[in-house]
Subunit: 101 residues, 2 copies
DNA sequence: TTGACAGGCAACCTTTTAGTTGCCTATGGT
DNA sequence: ACCATAGGCAACTAAAAGGTTGCCTGTCAA
């Protein structure tokens, strides 16, 4: 899932869906004009595999929806650990930097 | 920075530093016995480039410290956007899934 | 019912990333 | 002074990610 976020293009796609949910493939392609449709498809596939977007086929359109659940899960489960130890880590850092070298 | 987090080994390194800050390279190597020392060095280099760890040379030891600032910055700046729109995105998602297909 | 539109699939190429090996440098203990 | 310890650098290989092209399928609208 971090891997899915580790690409600027994919983050752009997520942002776009955050702004307007349920966009089609071609709509999202306009967002990344430097890529071909298939390129965008691949990125969306990764996001789907990471369960960050969910798709619905409607007629000949494929609509893409943001799935906000896992990104929040990660944020809470993983990042809050760092939040918790932030001050301790910071002071250790400062101490180390100020010691005699 | 997401790229730096997009690797299990590097996350393990960060976790280790969260548990005990200021470890040397060789100490961290024990954490990833499947890699050689140079392999670990490279990972630490990436973490350092992403400004997630800071190093201090002390004698012949190189101490690694967690830098908790950027990880929190990201969490707040980026992830909180998704938190903000969570409910809206969720309901759009549900609506889409329940529509006639 | 035919053609244009939206999208899928597979093969291929290129670039990045991950990892190793071999050798070199500096520091500290005895 | 010497050797073991801690680490750095560079070249190389292997694997994965990113992207393209070409062609195929399904759906809607005239």
């Amino acid at each position: 899932m971090f891997k899915a976020l580790a690409d600027e293009g994919r983050r752009r796609l997520l942002d776009a869906l955050r702004e307007r949910n349920g966009q089609t493939l071609l709509e999202l392609c306009e967002l990344l004009p430097e890529l071909t449709r298939q390129g965008v498809t691949k990125h969306l596939r990764l996001l789907e595999d990471a369960n960050l977007v969910v798709t619905v086929k409607r007629g000949r359109h494929k609509l893409h929806y943001l799935n906000p659940v896992p990104i929040n899960e990660i944020a809470e489960r993983w990042l809050s650990n760092y939040e918790r130890d932030k001050l301790r880590a910071l002071s250790a850092l400062k101490a180390a930097l100020q010691e005699d070298r």
